[in-house]
Structures are given as C-alpha cells and as structure tokens.
Symmetry: C2
Subunit: 429 residues, 2 copies
C-alpha cells in the first residue's frame, strides 16, 4: 500500500494516522450527545455532524442513521465490507490528493463543524457490550504462571494446546480508559499452606494489571449454528487494548472449581478507539506456532493470524514518576481471534454484535516483556524496580497503569492510543 | 394473608392464582408487538392494552410507558415498592371483592380487549439480560458431585462454606421455555486416565440438565460501590425456573483452570413468567444452615432466606412417554440470593437491571430428589429408570426436560408454570 498523506497536520509517528482512522464514541464541549467519530491526528471527525451535512453523499447506499447512535454497534452490524468502504472513503476525503476536495478539504465551514480538537471532546465506551469472554491465549504468560504453581514440566495444562481456553467475563464492569479503578475487597487466605485455610475479608494486597488485546465482534450467529473457522475473521469488527485488572489473592481462594470471579469482575479497562480489522491487515504476522495437530474446526489456512503490534506498559506512581515496565508484542499468542471465535461458537453459543473477546495476558519471551506483575515479581517474590528508588511487587493506591500499542511507522502508523487506569483505595466496609 | 378469590375462573391449584400474578412478555394472535403482561389462570392480562385504556388511572404516579416496552426491564427498574403497588392493585382489580369493579370486572368490552386466552398468546424472554451469573449454592449437589471426584471427606472445596462460589455465564444463550436445544459439539476425552489425554471432537455424549432457580435484578449499583447485605433483597425483582443445560464430557476437559465454558454456553432455558419477589414472600423458609462463622458482609439478620418451592423434573422421551424423575425443593440452598448479590458486588462489580443470577443445581437429600442426571446416574455409572422399559444415563436426542415448581396451595398457589426444552441432534461438522 502506497503511503497516504493527509491534509490534516499530523505529527510524525502519531497513532492516529490516515492509515488508521479508528472509530469511537465521543461527546464534545458544545454537544453533549454521545455519537460516533473517527480519530485523525489530534482531531476527531464527528461522524454524526459529517453525515448530517451530507458528507457521505458519495456513498448513497450507506445507512447513515448508524452515525446517530450512542454506540458503534449499528455501524459494526453493517459488516466488514461496509466498514472497509467507509474507511476507504474517509481516507480519500482526508488525503492530500483527495478525489473529493469539495467535501471537506476545501470546505472551511464544514471543517469547523465536524473536525473537533481532541481536547474539546471526551470519549466513551465505543460499543454496547453484550457478553465479554476472556481467553488465555498468551502462551508465555500461561507458561510463566503455570511454572510458578507446578514447575516448568507441567506448566501448561493438558488442554492448553488443544483448544483456546477461556472464561466468561463480566460486561457490566468494562470501563473506558481513564475511569478510576477501585481496589476490590474480597476474601483472602494469607497462608495457603495452612489447614484448614482461614480467609480474611479486606482490600486485595495483590492487585495486578493484565496487558491484553481485545476484539469486538461486528456480526454474530444464530444460537445452535457455529461460526466456521473460514468465516470467523469476517465477524471481527476491530481491536482495542485491554487491561484485565486482577486481584491475585482473591483469585487464589475463589477460583476452584469454577474459575475467576470477583478477582476479575471489579473492572476491565479498554482503550476508547476501535482500530478496524482492515487497518491492521498489513501488520498480520505469525503467532506462536502450535505444533499440536488441530481439529479441523480450529485449522486456519493462513498462518499469518497474529498482529505485529508493539505493546508497552508504563507505571506512574502517585508522585507522578513514570517507569516503562514492559515492552512486548501482540504476536505472542498461541491462538488467533478467529480460532477463539470458532471454538467459542463450536457448541452453538450465540455471538452478537458488540461482544468482546480478550486475548489473555500477552507476555514475550524476555524478562522485560511480561504482561503482568504476577510474572514480573514472580508471584510477589521479588521487587520490580521503578525509576528513582521506588519498587513494587503489586500495585499501590495512586498507581496509574498505561497500556499503549501501535503497528507500523511514520505516516502509516496504526496505533491504539492509550488504555489508562489509576488505582483508588478500597471501599471501607 | 386472607385468601383472595378472583372473578376470573381459575381451576384449583393453578400456578397462576390471584396470589401470584407473575409478569412476562407476550405477543398475541392479533398484535405481534412484544409487550408486558400478567398471567392469571388460563388468561393473560395485556398490560400495554390495559394501561392504554386507562386501567392504571387509580395509580396516577405510575409511569405507564414501562408497559409499552419489549422487556420488563423498565418496569423492574421502578423498584420493589412500585412492583408491590402494581401487583396489589391488579390483585384488587381481579378479585371478586374488587374496590374498582368498573375498571375491569364489570367492563365487558375492556375484558375482551385486555384479557387474552393464554393459547392465543406466545411468551418471550421476559427481560433484556445484561450479565448472567451462575452460582453453586446447592450444597447437596456440590457434595454429591464432589464425592464422585474426591470422596465424601473432601467433597466440598475449602472455600465452599466461606463464600457463594459462582462463575460468569453467557447471557446470549439464555432462551425462553420451549426453545429447542441443540446438542453441542465439543472436545471430549474418552479416557481421562490416559497420558497424554487424547481428545476427539464431536457431539457431547453426556448431555445433562440442571434444575435451578433464577433471580432477576430490578436495580443495580454503581461500579465500585458494593450492595450491602441489608439492602440486597431490595434489588431482586423476581424469580424464574432455570435449566442450565450442561455437557459433562466437554466440561471435564475444558474447565481447568478457568471454569466451565462451552459445556454451559450452548443454552440455558428459563421459564417465561417472572414470579415477583413479593409473591414469594409468604413462602420464605430456612435454607441449609451454614455452621461457618460468616464475614459481616454475608451475614443476614433473618434466617428465613430460602423459599419453600416444590420443584419437579419430568423427562419425556421421543415416544412421548413421560417420567417424573425428581421431586425436590428450592430450600436446599446453602446461600441465599441476597448473599450471592452481596458477595458478587463486594469487590465493586456493577449489577444492572435485568441481570440474572442462577442458584446452582438444587438437589434434596434423597435419591429421588436430585437436580441433575450426573447425580442420578452417578456420573453415568448406573441407569436411571423411566416408565416402560426405557432407561437413561444422559439425555438422548428427542428427550424433553420439563421443570416445574410452585409454592402454596389452592387459591393461593404461587407457581412458575413450566420450563421446557427438547434436545435436538448436534450440528454435523
């Protein structure tokens, strides 16, 4: 793809280049309604205003009522072909060499009405989320955590390479980047070796983040009618960064036999801008190879099923000292999102527009490439060194975790922006 | 409470007595719109029509727009006090000794417009369900299943009596009674003792039902702000029967370490009529006593926290031979719904109008009081005898499972009607 250049001034390596054009939901200083928008550089294109000013008249078959909704669900439900057409059209409109200069480039009045400075807008959750499922496809993470409990020989459970392990999460607790996260109270056993185990009830002492990639679905399936692996990609609308906050001490006590519950359901933060699947297409790469013989329902014809997305995690203390604590890549997944989707629906489970799938924690192979403090501190057994004299084993009140990620370079950079959350102190019972 | 008598002809021991008045969503032969209704005997009172004909003019502060919605969520969100007022008013309107005979009893024209024969209506899911959580509060069930795997001494996991164990379920797969249920395909290990374990992919051979009680929430909480145990009851709108269909063989292979997933998410059937919490109030009773010292956030002042609801399970074969295979009682729960709710939100998880909580499988103490075939057949190791010469270990294609339940007697019976599902053969991959 030849590099596009926009007439919008965009600084070098900006996440929101013209090659990206991620979709989100905003409100602005002078219009409190929640509505779809596209980010470009430090501006956002208000799609409700743009469509009401006949900005999409070159796409006469497009149902522009989707841009008057308070979530992206209606737009997503139009399907991948339409997302591609709309994104291509907007790339044209916004490019220096646009074939429709009259629509926006040379229309100063419309520019003022529909191109808003980002700092005069606020983002909201981009989708109305039906169900949220979190997978465990980060093999290095699964191996690291399994090693802590069972040693390296038995680190991965027997099912791990046969199917994408996942669990149903909680959609009501998914929050937009920037929302404060309260440290949860819960039942905690301080001495897991004691018999009988004696829990206490109080604030989690092992609060952690998890670096994940999330996929939003654009279209679903009828209950009982599985999504086939060959079609699965077409059901994916786009991607966001996700911090699946975790209370490790609550998890240890509660999760047998039915899995994580209160250890996870107090908050999950996502980045506000959905990077469309089409925008990430050029950055497809190999995931972690699975040497297992897969069942046909999980077998992909293409081996480029992961994304080369550079990911980073920063921790900012209450004193506003920021440390880069991890740099990794979204390619470190054993299972692709189409495989997750094919597995999820194999028994007939209904998937719906707006459903969210999480990858599971993404860790690379090195010590500086870990996606959770559980791994960095070896279960709290060693210190994570921050800038200055600060150390952590787990998150403290006042800590801010910032996830960031991008693919590509310069004018073709496709980035997610940031996924941010600050830890607040627990409720007093 | 003195027994009310209705001017509607209701046969003896009907589930939908005037003491009940459960709420649901219907459409009818001559009006395809989905809308709220109340069941009384073999009639349903169309609340949309009734309210538009000024049936609620005696309740001037009631927002009757809630009866023009396609789910009960808006009505539920009005809160317990309003549900009580509306139900009391409808009991008055429908009673022989009504103080408002002009509204309906003596108004033949309105009766024709708003009281519909049940067989000319169809029910739909009563609520738009946000999140679904399934608990594991049936202690006898947990003990029976645990005994199969670990023997009676270690049957219950250490956390079991400390907190209501639960997991996040899948809301997209919740279906109304009568919806066919497709046998799921999935990965299954035939010989769990083999090393390495070798899965195959195909239709579940261990398809089971689970007899549960479900609670719908009327109001929720803000993320980060737990629901206190003293307030929890006020967040419960009403109850339904629930069949949490389970594929035991898929579950065994997939559930470590993150819990049940495809073994459960292919279908969950609920009964269509929501029995309001107020209607069950007279039938509160002791649950299973918990001798554990509970944390204050789980401690209830009242010990009458379960319901004396007689439950039954019938299995009808493809040849239409019906066997009663279980009779038990909803009181066999270690944890109450308010306790589940207080625990669920203790870490700050947001609960919302329309969320559904399942009790977990309810089994009594005797062999004829079991809530799953897993228990009846001892994990498939013995035959469950049906009428005629039929036997089962697990469900066969064509089998219909019918759950039923009621409290009280005669003119004060408060019943759920039925929760029915028929097993269809698996999709061929």
């Amino acid at each position: 793809m030849a590099s596009l250049k926009s007439w919008v001034t965009i600084r070098e390596n900006h996440h929101f280049s013209i090659a990206n054009l991620p979709f989100g939901i905003i409100h602005s200083k002078y219009d409190a309604s929640h509505r779809p928008a596209v980010a470009i550089g430090d501006l956002v294109l208000d799609l409700k205003a743009f469509s009401s000013h006949k900005g999409f008249s070159a796409l006469p078959s497009l149902d522009i009522s989707v841009f008057s909704q308070t979530s992206l669900n209606a737009f997503a439900a139009l399907g991948r072909r339409v997302h591609g057409e709309v994104r291509s059209y907007l790339q044209d409109i916004l490019s220096e060499s646009t074939t429709h200069p009259d629509v926006l480039k040379d229309n100063e009045e419309l520019k003022k009405a529909v191109l808003l400075p980002k700092h005069e807008t606020k983002t909201h959750l981009p989708m109305a989320i039906g169900d949220f499922t979190d997978f465990f496809a980060g093999k290095n993470h699964a191996f690291n955590v399994g090693t802590m409990f069972r040693g390296p020989a038995n680190a991965l459970q027997p099912n791990y390479t046969h199917l994408p392990v996942g669990y149903h999460g909680r959609s009501s607790s998914i929050v937009n980047s920037g929302t404060p996260v309260r440290r949860p109270n819960g039942q905690i056993v301080l001495d897991p070796a004691a018999d009988p185990k004696i829990p206490f009830f109080g604030p989690s002492r092992k609060l952690d983040f998890e670096l994940e990639l999330g996929a939003f679905l654009c279209t679903g399936n009828t209950l009982g009618d599985p999504i086939r692996i060959a079609d699965a990609e077409e059901h994916i609308f786009g991607y966001v960064l996700m911090n699946d906050w975790s209370a490790r001490d609550i998890q240890t006590w509660e999760y047998i036999p039915l899995g994580p519950f209160n250890a996870k359901n107090f908050a999950t933060t996502i980045s506000p801008w959905v990077v469309l699947a089409g925008a990430l297409e050029p950055y497809k790469t190999h995931g972690i190879p699975n040497t297992n013989q897969l069942f046909p329902y999980l077998k992909e014809t293409d081996s480029y099923t992961a994304f080369d997305i550079k990911l980073s995690v920063e921790l900012t203390t209450a004193e506003e000292s920021t440390s880069l604590i991890s740099q990794t890549n979204a390619k470190w997944l054993l299972w692709s999102f189409p495989q997750m989707l094919a597995h999820h629906s194999a028994g007939g489970c209904a998937m719906r527009t707006g459903d969210l799938l999480g990858s599971g924690t993404i860790s690379g192979e090195g010590e500086k490439e870990l996606g959770s403090m559980l791994e960095m501190s070896q279960g709290g057994n060693r210190e994570i060194w921050l800038r200055g004299m600060e150390v952590r084993r787990w998150l403290l009140d006042g800590d801010t975790v910032t996830l960031s990620g991008y693919a590509g370079e310069d004018e073709a950079r496709v980035g997610f922006g940031e996924c941010v959350g600050r830890v607040e102190s627990a409720v007093i019972f």
